[in-house]
Amino acid sequence: MEPSSPPCSQDCGEAPLAHVVEVRVLLAVFGALIVLTAITVAVSYFDFGALNLTVALGVATLKAAMVALWFMHLRYDGGLNAFVFLVGVVFLGLFLAITMLDSVQYHPNVQSWEQRK
């Protein structure tokens, strides 16, 4: 089956293997990643109390998702690769959650430190 692709200089005659991401899309993702890095650094100079960690991890997750979706072409894959990767992330969450089940036991220490601070 010969696809009707435009003439090419070499290796002609077969359908393209994968989606080719536009340069401007890659540049836009890069720009967004730099802006988010600047935001996360700027935000670290202010105290949001318990939200500090949430904000830092939220921005990092947004950045990681952008890298995965566009730089790693996950957006253009079938869902299987994303599923495989997310299984790993879910299991990491499970490990973290089980490991930290006893954190309540340490709350008195944390609170006494916060009062001394």
Partner: protein
Amino acid sequence: MTEPHPPSTQSNDDGHPSAHLAHHFNTPRQQYDSARLGMWIFLMTEVLFFGGLFCAYAVFRANNPAIFVDGHHFLDKPLGAVNTVVLIFSSLTMALAVRAAQLGRRRSLVGLLTVTLLCGLAFLGVKAVEYKHKWDHHMVPGQARIAYWFSHEAAPEPRKEFRPEETYVRERLAAEGFESLTQAEYTERVEHLGTFMGIYFSLTALHAVHVIAGIGVIFWILIGAIRGRYGRQYFTPVDMVGLYWHLVDMIWIYLFPLLYLIH
């Protein structure tokens, strides 16, 4: 994945145009998708591999946040930020390199891979400056032991505890507004710093090992690109190395705020 394919008319024996198609795949597309799936499974195991250390981080951070509040004053925020930008930029050039490989543009592929390689080396250079600084102020856990392994001197007195340079630590803490600490307060902060440095070095050194491996495989595909191994129908190695490099970037995206940006 299991859709039926007609018997292939393209095989290794035909030579062009499917010289890269292994005989156990029906189409180049199927071969390429299989490679990507395998790579994503590997990247998933990498997440779990780092996950052990992230678990350790989470436990210490939840149960003793003082470790991180006291410890992060000893990391260089601007250097960490510079390294973040360097690594994100190298991810961009890697993504552009995959694109160049897909389009069969050999010269831009070679150029972009070279830039990516140089960024990886720059990242390691900055990391080395940071590590050297920690070493100079005796802030590397187990430093006395390590120094002894690399020297030919007689065995020193057993010294396993963390003993950073006191004048530097006091100076640094004073700059952060903690002046005239009592001996007990100072000792407590040094204990926190020791644990923090243990976590910092475990996570960043494991990451640095991945950067070194990444530089190795980028060098390998750079040689292949110079020799013209990759074209429109065969760029799988470039794509696989790209995926790996982006994962290394992704992990640093988490490490930077978790270690350097603590309030």
